[in-house]
Amino acid sequence: MKKILLVILASVSIGAIIFLYYNFRIAEKVQYNGPIEKIKIAAYKGERSSLIYIAKEKGFFQDNGIEVEILDNDSGVRSVQSINNSEVDIATAAEYPLVSDILENENNLKIFGAIDFVKAYEVIANKNSGINSIEDLRGKKIGLKKKSEADFLFGVFLTSHNIADNEVGIIDLEPTNAAEKIANGEIDAAVVCDPYTNILKNYLGNNLADWDVQPNRNFYHLLFAKADYINKNPELVKRFLIALIQAEKYINSHLLDSQLIVERNIGVDLKYLQRVWDKNNFSVSLDQSLVLTMEDESRWRISKEQLNRKSPNYLNYLDFKILDNIDSSRVTIIR
């Protein structure tokens, strides 16, 4: 009888071990053992680049055999230039600077991921310039970075409020100079995003008038590179994306630590960062809506400038195979 008991116990134990092994085994962490490769990246210096800062500080890039050098950029337009001039390997920008560049130059760029989906732009106006309502913008000097997301968003904003483009004076503005230009009276209002909105708001105090220029509309913070670079380094780009996905998971489990890392890297107050944090959706992805958004922006530009052409096929400017290969649920491009 005892032998039967032992056999039953042994069978149940072995069965339980096999069951547990197959159902609850911890996914083996694939450790990269190859040589360290360098990537130079131009990143917008703001919370939109959080995944990049976290991946660097927490050593996720290093774990994936990448040594990353980050160059701070204050606009997506500058990032596109950095790629076109081969100053960097990878850059970050909102979709509109890329739409503009593709329309104008048809450079062979490839978007291979988005790392944020955000609402950040506002019109910040100086009441001392006589701006108390949106209508008051007529005849005023508005500073914004031309060809940037601000350019598109403000254009749509004016149209939706029945203000023609030629009723306002658009002045090309580096966001870092916005406060200085308002103080000097060179501009009456500025279209900027975080963290420059915060700087201007603090500066204007009681003289502040502000409006959201992107109601019902978020923009993407995209990762892009020259097509050649991606074609030559698919494994490196793959490891780069894996590191960013690890950073995304780190945010979910270590929110405060993540915010402290970003605070250190972009030099803003933690309270401000925590206030704007929820406007962001930090996720490595490629959505079908990105393609539709780019086409939308593209049609707006074509219409505005009365260009005799069709919107480009932006599928040709997307490389979703690498991210699809890592995690297909992150890619919703119809294919």
Binding site: M1, L5, S311, N313, I334
Partner: protein, 625 residues
Amino acid sequence: MLLIAFIARVYYVSEQAMNKAKTVNETLVGLFELNVVTNDYLLHREDRALEQWNLKYDFLMKGFISHGRNEANFNHTHTEEEKKILNEMELEFLDIGNIFKKISSDNISGNLEDVLVGQLSAKMQLMINDAFSIFNESNKGVENAKNLIFIVFFIFLAILFIIILMVVYIIRNSISIPLAELTNEVDKISQGNLSIKMNDKVIASKDEIGVLANSFLVMTKKLNESYQNLENKVKQRTFDLDRAKAQDDAMLENIGEGLVFVDIQNKIMFLNRASEKLLGIDRNSVIGKDWIEVAQVLDENKQKAKRENLPVVKSLLSSISAPASVSRLFYFTKKNGEIFPVAINASKVILKNKIIGAIDIFRDISIEKEVDKAKTEFVSLVSHELRTPLTGIRWNTEILSKKKAGVLTIKQKRVIKEIQKANMRMLGLINTLLNVSRLEAGTFIVEPKDLNILDLVKVILKEQKLIAKKNGLIIKTNFEKDIPAKMKLDPQLTNMIVQNLLSNAIKYSLSKGTINFDILNIKKDKVYGKNLVKKDSILIIVVDQGMGIPIKEQGNIFSKLYRADNAKLIGIQGTGLGLYITKTIIDNVGGNIWFESEENKGTTFFVSLPISGMKARGGTKKLEK
């Protein structure tokens, strides 16, 4: 076997249902995406939308819609209802492809395009409706599979429950019950019952419990034997102890000396019959009382003795390794107030390396004191009477040696010289004996005068250096410069102390090494030779490198007539009275003497005198030189 076949069937059915549901799901999503891209294309006619439409259409075409035309698989996988819907869907899907191609072609009129767009929308809607129907059908299959899985799960639980019951039953019979029995027997043992009984089945069992039970029985048997053995030993030891106690009680009760055992707080724990008799007390009335209060101890001057000087107190306060404390002279007081001299020997009682009390053994030495006094007086008288004829002999031999009674032959001269030597030794001995008798009788005088101790010492040194030189020795001196110019010193006694120390150093140096003679002015309390010398003292130190004093004899070196064995062995002349006299003098003038010595390496004597000088003492006679 039936169960395994059933489970395999359930696995197969559920796997098939799941796969079908997955495929249907993918198709449904694909159709939605195709619908989205269709609308997207119709809205803006973007090339990108056209490309995505073609991709999605081809995907769906390759997948669910055509089934690769594997009729066998098609018939086997789907129900009749599903087959019907799928056939309809396939036709609709082909129509959608054709309509879309016409719409996307460049040469189509506006009216026709509107009609075709309407048809396309209607077909897409039909496709989605059909896809939902298939989805619902496939969900039924999933529900069936779920039910089957639930049944399997239930059966599995039932089997598991039966197995658990069996396991519990087996464990209970083969482990729990025998263990409970064993525990029960262990409880009996813990209550002192070593006669245990064990179930025969358990004993006969070859498993671990059986082995444990057998081992337990053997252990119990051995424990029983051991217990019996121990009991016998305890009985024997108890008997031995009782007998020893009876012997001890008899001895303690019947010894002539008083014996008191006190605890660590000096409270009387035991007092023998002799003590009771000597002190004239009832022992029962003093148990637990302070022994020193009961005995009302007086010092040698018949003053109330200081507690810390009493041997019993010294014993209690001394270290564990310190020897027994022997008293000089104390007086106990009887209950009726009469005092009597006692010699006390106190020893500490140690248990487990801890002092738990002390034993005070004392005896009445009234008779010994009387005898000693008579002896001292006799020695004094005899010495005094002997000195007169010996002085006569000295004078007469001097007359003979100075030829005042005629010329002597050489042989006669030698004889006379020997007589003179023997006479001088005899006189020296007589003087020493007289000094001893005066010291013991307490009749000697101490007359301190203002003197320079260095002047006094230098005179002695002059003489002693000559003797040392004859013996091949050197005396090195070191006198501190700030030795007071005047101290109250009895010149004769100081002379005797210094001379005795130096002559001993010369005598026991055995003609080797150097003798150091130091006089220090002590300004701060400092330890010399393990004794604390208080400030404002003069310290005399005599160091020799001679034969030293054996450790075992160091305790007796100041005793009267005591001579160390190593000195006697090599025939060094001496009376054994020099250090006795020296210490008695120093004790009586308020000084202190001690030494440290190592056999064959030498001895160092220390004498401390207060800088205020010697205490004066009235008496009847001075000591002899």
